[in-house]
C-alpha cells in the first residue's frame, strides 16, 4: 500500500461498526502503519446510528476528519443514504445485504453485498457478522493482512475470550470467500 486508505463504517449502534473500524486500526498499527480512528459521537450514540472513520496510511496522517472516503462499509439504510454519495469515484462500497431495503445506485464505484447476518447465523453466532464483513472488505481492499487482524484480536480480547478467536478466523475467511463471489456486484 503506497497511499492512505480512508474508510467509513456505518450502521446502527450495537451492530459493532465501531469495533470493525478499530480492529482494522489495530492490525494496521501492528503493521507499523500510521492510523487514525474517529467515531461519530453524540446523543445519537444511544439507539440511533453510529459510525467511525478509519485512515490507514504509510505516512503521518494529516487530517483525521474527512468527508470523502475510499471505501464505505454500510450496515443500515439511513447510513447508506448518508454516505453513499461520500464515496470517491472509483471507490468501494460494501454492505450487509439483509439490512438494506433499497440498495445503492451509484455506478461509478464498486459495490458488493454480503449476506453477513445470514451467514453468521449459519456459523452459530450472530455476533460474528461484522467479522465476515471485515473479511470481505479485506479481500477487496487488502490494506492489512488477515493474520494481523487475528493478532490484533489476541491483544484486544481479554484472555477469557480467546477461545472465540478460531470462530472469528472462520468468519474472516468466510467473508473473504463470499467477497470473491458476492451476492451482488455493481460497477
Amino acid at each position: 500500500m503506497q497511499q492512505a486508505h480512508e474508510i467509513i463504517f456505518a450502521g446502527f449502534g450495537g451492530q459493532g461498526v465501531l469495533s470493525m473500524g478499530s480492529i482494522i486500526a489495530y492490525a494496521a498499527m501492528i503493521e507499523q502503519k500510521e492510523v487514525s480512528w474517529m467515531p461519530s459521537y453524540g446523543p445519537e450514540m444511544r439507539g440511533g446510528t453510529a459510525n467511525c472513520t478509519v485512515i490507514v496510511s504509510p505516512v503521518r496522517i494529516s487530517s483525521p476528519i474527512i468527508s470523502r472516503f475510499d471505501s464505505a462499509v454500510i450496515l443500515n439504510q439511513p447510513s447508506l443514504e448518508k454516505f453513499e454519495k461520500a464515496v470517491k469515484p472509483g471507490g468501494f462500497l460494501l454492505y450487509e445485504q439483509s439490512s438494506l431495503i433499497n440498495p445503492p445506485t451509484r455506478k461509478d464505484i464498486e459495490v458488493i453485498a454480503i449476506a453477513a447476518n445470514d451467514e453468521a447465523q449459519k456459523l452459530g453466532k450472530k455476533q460474528v457478522a461484522n467479522m465476515i464483513l471485515v473479511g470481505a472488505f479485506l479481500e477487496k481492499r487488502p490494506i492489512v493482512k488477515i493474520e494481523n487482524i487475528l493478532n490484533a484480536l489476541k491483544k484486544v480480547l481479554p484472555e477469557r475470550h480467546h477461545h472465540l478467536i478460531p470462530l472469528n478466523e472462520q468468519a474472516l475467511l468466510l467473508g473473504g470467500k463470499l467477497a470473491k463471489e458476492p451476492s451482488l456486484t455493481v460497477g
Binding site: 446523543p43 445519537e44 450514540m45 444511544r46 439507539g47 440511533g48
Partner: protein, 256 residues
Amino acid sequence: MQEDTQLNGFEVVYKKPVTLTDTPFHYCPGCGHSVVHRVLMEVIDEMGIQDKTIGVAPVGCSVFAYSYMNIDMQEAAHGRASAVATGIKRIHPDKFVFSYQGDGDLAAIGTAETIHTVNRGENILMIFINNAIYGMTGGQMAPTTLLNQVTSTSPYGRNCETMGYPLKITDMLVQLPGAYYVTRQSVHNVNAVRKLKKAVEKSFEYQKSNPGTCFIEVVSNCPSGWKMTPVESNKWLEENMFPVYPIGDLKVPSGK
C-alpha cells in the same frame, strides 16, 4: 381522519394526546422518560391548559422534551431548570409552569436551586426523574445511584466511603414549608402510570391557587445505563430502587 377515531367499527379508546407533537422520541427502547412526557401532555389536554402552560426542559436525556411537548418551553442549563422556571413564573404568575429534571440535574449540580426553589415555595410543579444514573452522558454515577451499583464511574460499585450515599433529596424537601405537595411515583407498570397521572392532575389543580411547590419524583428506569433489557430494568427497579425510594405521597396538603 376516520381511522383516528374508528377502526372497523371499533371506537378509539386510547390514542396519543394531541399536545404531543409528531416528532418521534429519541429515547432508548423502554425508557421511562417518554411515558412521563405523555402523562404530562394527557393531563394538559384534559385540563385544557395547553395555552396556559410553560415547561422547562433540563440537560439530560430529556433535553429535547420541547421537541415532543407542543407547548411553550425553555431549555435550561444543566441543573438550573427550577431557577429558570422561577424566572418564568415570576413573569407569568397566572400561568402553569413546570420544570422537568433528571437526578444528575436536580440532585447533583442543581441541588442549591432545587432546595431554594422549594424553600421559596415557588408556585410551580417540579418533576424529578430518578433513574439512579446519568443517562445522557453514558451511564455515570448519579447522586441517587444505589450502594454497590455499578456504573461507568463506579465500575467496582458505589462505595459509601469515598462516593457517598444515595441521596434522598425528595425526603429532604419534605421538611421545607414551601413544599405543598410532595410525592414519589413510578411508571414501571400500568398502575404506576395511572397513579402518576393522578399526581400530575392534582399538582396542576393545586397550582391554580398558587399554594407552594408541588414536587413529583418519578422512580424510573434507564435500560441503556443499567445495561438491561427494558423488561429486566423494570424488575430491577422494583427490587432495588423501591426499597430505597419507596413509592407514595411524602407530603400532602393538610386537610386533603
